[in-house]
């Protein structure tokens, strides 16, 4: 059984249009699945639904989210929070706003372990130090006492990674974790995430718009358009022989510095029309 199993998940604005259209996907233990698509395709929404942090204007209209064998959507809210807190974690997009500027780093990592998982403070601190060392932060003890503004963006993202892995979660949702970073820092961070994930055997749901990043960290891939999964495939297959025309068009739009003539072809109107028609057909089927 997959560690995360989403079945026919539909999410929509309250009394509004659909944001996710019967999304199904699985993430096995120790596997990385990428979620790609253009902005507004709903890729972040899936991660938010799994972690139970959907914005209040949005509701789940149908479907099941099995996390570690239990259906999150059938649990009482408090119970669900506990379950998610115990087995899942988030690596957020923006390292500059994800840390509270008025608290030191140490408590921001350990508080969750102490308050939610009931660890002793000493054990939590030992764990935090261990993880900060694992994400290659020099002098972890000093960093624990620092405030976020004293650290660089890359450093803060490392801290957020350490924090995500702290409670040994079985699933991590990474929401565009390197978009705000320089390309050289991005490389370090991606390798760090991939290494940590492999070592800890964590399942990883990796939201990104960058196909280059996908090819480096993911094994499986879901391509979204307008909340519809248009392709669910392995990374190897996607980059050699994408099945859906929209996937192929996305790939053709991505520039490559090794080949100045490849890439930068806008998604053709015909492809857009076809995939829109697919969405429309889906909606018609749903509503009679």
């Amino acid at each position: 059984m997959s560690f995360l199993d989403i079945r026919g998940l539909s999410v929509r604005l309250k009394k509004g249009p659909a944001l996710l259209r019967r999304v199904s996907l699985q993430v096995q233990a120790a596997e990385v699945r990428g979620l790609v698509g253009e902005s507004g395709a709903g890729k972040s929404m899936i991660g938010k639904a799994v972690l139970g942090i959907l914005p209040p204007s949005v509701e789940v209209s149908e479907g099941e989210i099995f996390l570690d064998g239990v259906d999150l959507l059938r649990m009482a809210p408090s119970e669900r929070r506990r379950k998610i807190g115990a087995v899942a974690a988030l690596i957020p997009q923006d390292p500059l706003t994800a840390l509270n500027p008025s608290h030191r780093i140490g408590p921001q990592i350990t508080d969750r372990l102490v308050d939610i998982l009931g660890w002793t403070r000493a054990r939590a601190e030992a764990r935090a130090l261990e993880l900060l060392a694992e994400v290659q932060i020099p002098d972890p003890a000093r960093v624990m006492r620092s405030y976020p503004h004293e650290l660089s963006g890359g450093m803060r993202q490392r801290i957020l990674i350490a924090s995500a892995f702290a409670a040994e979660p079985k699933l991590i949702v990474a929401d565009e974790p390197t978009t705000a970073l320089d390309v050289t820092v991005q490389k370090q961070i991606l390798r760090l995430i991939a290494g940590m994930q492999a070592r800890h055997g964590t399942a990883l749901l990796f939201v990104t718009h960058d196909l280059g990043v996908v090819s480096k960290v993911c094994q499986k891939l879901s391509v979204l358009y307008s909340g519809l999964v248009v392709e669910d495939t392995s990374v190897a297959e996607f980059f050699t022989a994408p099945r859906h025309p929209y996937s192929a068009a996305l790939l053709a739009a991505t520039p490559k510095y090794t080949d100045p003539l490849a890439g930068l072809n806008p998604v053709p109107d015909a492809v857009i029309d076809a995939v829109r028609a697919e969405v429309a057909a889906f909606d018609r089927m749903r509503h009679g």
């Binding site: 902005s39 390309v183 280059g212 090819s215 480096k216």
Partner: protein
């Protein structure tokens, strides 16, 4: 004059806001540490570097949104380094800028038509409605967009408005500051292809600031690599990508994740 811009020993310092003192003046932080280069007329020059490299500061100095603290910027033979705002005004038509964030660079309370027409009016152009129509046409936007507000457009469309505003003035030089970094790949491709066509059609000189070497490779004839406020490499694009000389350029290239699982990326 073959070069439209000649830059000599350009230095620029800004107040270091992270180290504001309780008493006394804010310490200055040198962002640009003596740059020398020139931009030939008709060239498409890429300016690349990481955050903190000074690439955006350099861009804003070129169009004199910032005043250098040392050195010289000559635009078409005229020293514009320390010209006052009033002295710059007649020149401003000739060097234009397209901004990174089209949402914040288009006044949310003006319609697209006004946004494009306003600079034309300031510089005393005639036949303004026809020029606005032509600019919209040039960037591939329907005429009806003239009466829309920026927030009613998509990111790619907004960026086209930014381009239309710049080209309507028939400038000699355009600075494009990270203009595709906020766009989806498909809109990015559209905007870059548009820019490529406009440069050819209108005979523009373009400086293209980006952190993305893949985009630069496609668009630019020359590349300037900035690192910590210094130029580490300034070469013809093909040569630079074939055999990068500076260690930093190599590091940048190696860090780019190609959309190709076969790429070794260690």
């Amino acid at each position: 004059m073959a070069d439209i811009y000649t830059i000599e020993n350009l230095r620029l310092s800004l107040a270091n806001m992270t180290e504001r003192r309780f008493f006394g003046a804010t310490p200055q932080l040198e962002i640009l540490k003596g740059l020398d280069f020139s931009i030939p007329r008709g060239a498409v020059v890429g300016i690349v570097g990481g955050s903190g490299s000074g690439k955006s500061t350099l861009g804003r100095a070129l169009v004199r949104l910032l005043e250098p603290s040392g050195g010289a910027i000559r635009f078409d033979g005229v020293d514009i380094t320390h010209l006052s705002e009033a002295e710059l005004r007649p020149l401003r038509r000739r060097f234009q800028m397209i901004f990174q964030d089209p949402m914040s660079s288009l006044n949310p309370r003006h319609r697209v038509g006004t946004i494009i027409a306003e600079p034309l009016r300031l510089h005393g152009f005639d036949a303004i409605p026809a020029r606005v129509a032509r600019a919209l046409d040039n960037v591939g936007l329907p005429q009806a967009f003239a009466s829309r507000y920026p927030h009613e457009l998509s990111g790619g469309q907004r960026q086209r408005v930014g381009i239309a505003r710049a080209i309507a003035l028939e400038p000699d030089f355009i600075l494009a500051d990270e203009i595709v970094s906020g766009l989806d790949v498909s809109s990015q491709a559209q905007v870059l292809n548009l820019l490529e066509r406009l440069v050819a059609d209108l005979g523009l000189t373009l400086a293209f600031i980006s952190h993305d070497l893949s985009v630069i490779r496609r668009l630019c004839s020359r590349v300037i690599v900035l690192h910590h406020g210094r130029i580490v490499e300034n070469r013809e694009t093909g040569a630079l990508f074939a055999a990068p000389e500076a260690a930093y350029t190599r590091e940048l290239l190696d860090a780019i994740p190609l959309p190709d699982p076969a790429q070794a990326w260690a």
